[in-house]
């Protein structure tokens, strides 16, 4: 079990400009769908983008998190900047 806020802060620590949207798929804080939008992803393959997020999440995937759907991309033109 891992709270959304922890996931978001782990990702933001590695990708400070990222917009992070977290959805708890089962309400049990261990099955999440995460969207990460960051300029750091621009020009990188999906594989590399996801590796960057996995690196940020580190050991959480070996324990507290059971399932993770991950959606990553650079910001689109005209997309609102993260707050």
């Amino acid at each position: 079990m891992l709270p959304e806020a922890t996931l978001t802060s782990l990702i933001r620590a590695a990708l400070p400009d990222a917009r992070v949207e977290v959805e708890d798929l089962t309400g049990t804080q261990d099955h999440y769908a995460i969207t990460v939008i960051s300029e750091a992803f621009r020009g990188k393959s999906l594989l590399t983008q996801q590796r960057m997020v996995y690196a940020a999440l580190g050991d959480t995937l070996r324990g507290p998190i059971h399932a993770l759907a991950l959606n990553t991309r650079p910001p689109r033109d005209g997309e609102a900047a993260p707050e």
């Binding site: 590796r51 996995y54 399932a67 759907a69």
Partner: protein, 113 residues
């Protein structure tokens, strides 16, 4: 099997099959939603593909994560290269990248022409 032997087996499997998925369960009976979704995408390509049920072989579930340095299952390989998991496969399927990648493979024996 020792760790080294497992790694070698994984390496051989990945290189000897054009498309292979390491998944939970089988394409006929997936044991998890992500594995089911990935195997459905592969089935929809109409191409033959190999699978490894990570529950069937002791140690392979951890070994494959070591092999790719990727923490989740399923893991899909095309033409000997790690492509990613379900999310990536879905994205590639939707934007034409998967078709483009498959087009670079030698035609399967059951080609639809």
């Amino acid at each position: 099997m020792s760790d080294n032997e497992l790694m070698e087996q994984i390496d051989a499997t990945v290189k000897e099959n054009q498309i292979v998925i390491f998944m939970k369960g089988s394409p006929m009976q997936p044991a998890c939603g992500f594995s089911a979704a990935a195997s459905e995408i592969l089935k929809a390509t109409g191409r033959p593909f190999a699978y490894v049920d990570v529950f069937e072989i002791p140690g392979v579930r951890d070994a494959i994560k070591q092999y790719t340095q990727w923490p989740t299952i399923p893991q899909i390989f095309i033409n000997g290269e790690f492509v990613g998991g379900t999310d990536i496969l879905r994205e590639m399927s939707g934007n034409g990248e998967l078709d483009a990648l498959l087009a670079t493979l030698e035609p399967p024996e059951t080609a639809e022409g």
